[in-house]
Amino acid sequence: MSAMIHAVYPVKADDYTFAGEASTDIKRKLKQLGVDSKVLRRVSVASYEVELNLVIHSDGGELIMDVDEGGITLISKDVGPGIPDIQMAMREGYSTADEEARSLGFGAGMGLPNMKRNADDFSIESEVGKGTCITMRFNLA
């Protein structure tokens, strides 16, 4: 790869003031790179979803974006609490969001399935007490 964009966005737990800013910046960068609008749309949805997941569910973490000519990789890493049952968490409609998040319109249980649907490759690893790592790849045709 001749050129590469690497951006790291720290995301704090329960911080709704800054929630969404990382994905806004990601979108802006991809538009400047001239990424195809259909791919852009899928990255927008997934990055916003994963960023909000960090805010709502994690104890804090970071969102990393890498762009090469072949595509875009989004990695979300957090420091806990970890997901006990990933299969359950991947189910549509399943949510552990608290009252505060639900009252803001989040926690419909569509987050992870939505990310998976929008990414070309999706993987999730999690260990209770350690944290969760989600990797998504979006190919540029």
Partner: protein, 434 residues
């Protein structure tokens, strides 16, 4: 990128521009730069919303529209008053006096754009009930919002509803009916829109979604205001009977369109910055449960256009009162079904993305440029003061990478450099003395 020469209604009056940074800061597409003490509008980026016209205290930003004298260039003329025109006059018991005043100042015929809005309402109402279309569908009525989507939200272009603007539909019908009635040639009839904004003027010269506009020109509301005022309430023997419903008339203000096409599940937002925030949400698919989105660049909707005279809140209230006393038949009943096929109501040309935000056509080069921007940005103070002539430090960094600016245009960097140089000179002077 399409290399079409772009027409813009919004222009700069160089003699009035002081080179301040007010317009820079308010442009939603970052289309203005101050260079050599004067503002410059970047053609490819400007969406003709008129925010800069509103904000400029020196009136250096202007909207070019047709002079009222332009009507003398045609043997026959028709005025197409935007419904927002009615909001300019207080204490109206009906819209008739305005229609009559338009005839008194020289137009042969008047056709209400609100009638076009009735037909368009029915067309969109129908469209919203078609299966398989993206959600929410986005109104195509405000040309500034459509152009904003082309520049900043190209991925939302498929959501734009492909029905023509009320002004266009009104122009087609008005011309055809007039020619039939007076037995004259279509090209002998000049059809003029009475416009509240520059965006509509631009939409006539460079149409959106259609090859050619059916409108021949646009006359600014504020230009015609004085003339109309003196003719309003003159006694007319046979007053012109308004034919639009309250629904069509309601399009003059924000949420008017929504309440005509989808009152049960739509969102109407006015003010371009607010529209941007909601389009971000739509882009993130956070409003997929919404059927219709109506965005108006101007606060209050068209009644808040930069070329209006009356305060937009007062005008909105006037419109509300006129709607109250108007025909309440919904367009799905008032507009005859034959009308839906008699005239072309839908787009014949696709809306295309405007890729002006792209740093380079080659993605590898674009990535290098983006990297450079981030690096330059690290050294900029982040005050977003605009003294360099770019709206923010980030756009300044972009301008440097695009070769439109140099680092020393930043007065803070320049000052720091001068400090270092001054220090070096002092040191130099001291070495000599020893």
């Amino acid at each position: 990128m399409d290399k079409v020469i772009r027409y813009h209604s919004v222009r700069l009056d160089k003699s009035r521009c002081k080179g301040c940074t007010n317009c820079l800061k308010h442009c939603p597409t970052e289309a203005i730069r101050v260079r050599n003490g004067r503002a410059h509008i970047i053609d490819e980026r400007c969406i003709d919303c008129g925010e800069c016209i509103r904000i400029c205290d020196y009136h250096a930003k202007i909207a070019v529209t047709d002079d009222i004298a332009a009507i003398h260039g045609y043997p026959h003329t028709i005025a197409l008053p935007a419904p927002s025109l009615y909001g300019q006059f207080r204490n109206l018991k009906s819209v008739s006096p305005i229609l009559d005043a338009l005839k008194l100042i020289g137009f042969d015929e008047v056709f209400e754009v609100a009638r076009g809005a009735d037909i368009v309402s029915r067309a969109i109402h129908q469209k919203l009930r078609e299966p398989g279309l993206p959600r929410p569908l986005i109104s195509s009525a405000c040309p500034a919002v459509v152009r904003l989507i082309q520049v900043r939200f190209p991925d939302l272009i498929p959501n734009i509803v492909d029905v023509r603007q009320p002004m266009e539909v009104a122009a087609m019908i008005a011309r055809q009916e007039y020619c039939k009635k007076h037995d004259c040639l279509p090209e002998d009839v000049g059809v003029f829109f009475i416009t509240p904004c520059p965006a509509k003027m631009t939409a006539i010269r460079t149409p959106l979604g259609q090859e050619k506009s059916s409108v021949d020109g646009a006359i600014s509301m504020v230009e015609i205001y004085g003339a109309l005022r003196s003719f309003i309430n003159k006694n007319v023997i046979t007053p012109t009977k308004p034919q639009a419903t309250g629904f069509g008339l309601g399009w003059a203000a924000s949420s008017g369109e929504s309440s005509a096409v989808c009152p049960e599940n739509s969102l109407s937002v006015d003010g371009i910055q607010n529209v941007i925030r909601v389009l971000e949400e739509i882009e993130n698919e956070k409003l997929n449960d919404l059927v219709f989105f109506e965005g108006n660049a101007c606060s209050g909707g068209c009644v808040g256009g930069p070329l209006t005279f009356e305060n937009n809140y007062v005008a909105k209230n006037t419109i509300r009162k006129l709607v109250d006393i108007s025909d309440k038949t919904h367009p799905i009943e008032s507009v005859p079904p034959s009308m839906m096929t008699k005239y072309p109501l839908y787009f014949d040309t696709p809306i295309t993305p405007n890729s002006v935000m792209k740093l380079d056509d080659n993605m590898a080069v674009a990535m290098q440029k983006l990297e450079q921007i981030e690096k330059i940005l690290e050294n900029l103070p982040g005050y977003d003061c605009g003294s360099c002539g770019s709206p923010t430090c980030r756009t300044f960094a972009e301008d440097i990478v695009r070769n439109f600016a140099g680092e020393m245009d930043c007065i803070h960097i320049l000052r720091d450099k001068l400090k270092v140089m001054a220090q070096q000179m002092v040191e130099l002077a001291q070495t000599k003395r020893e």
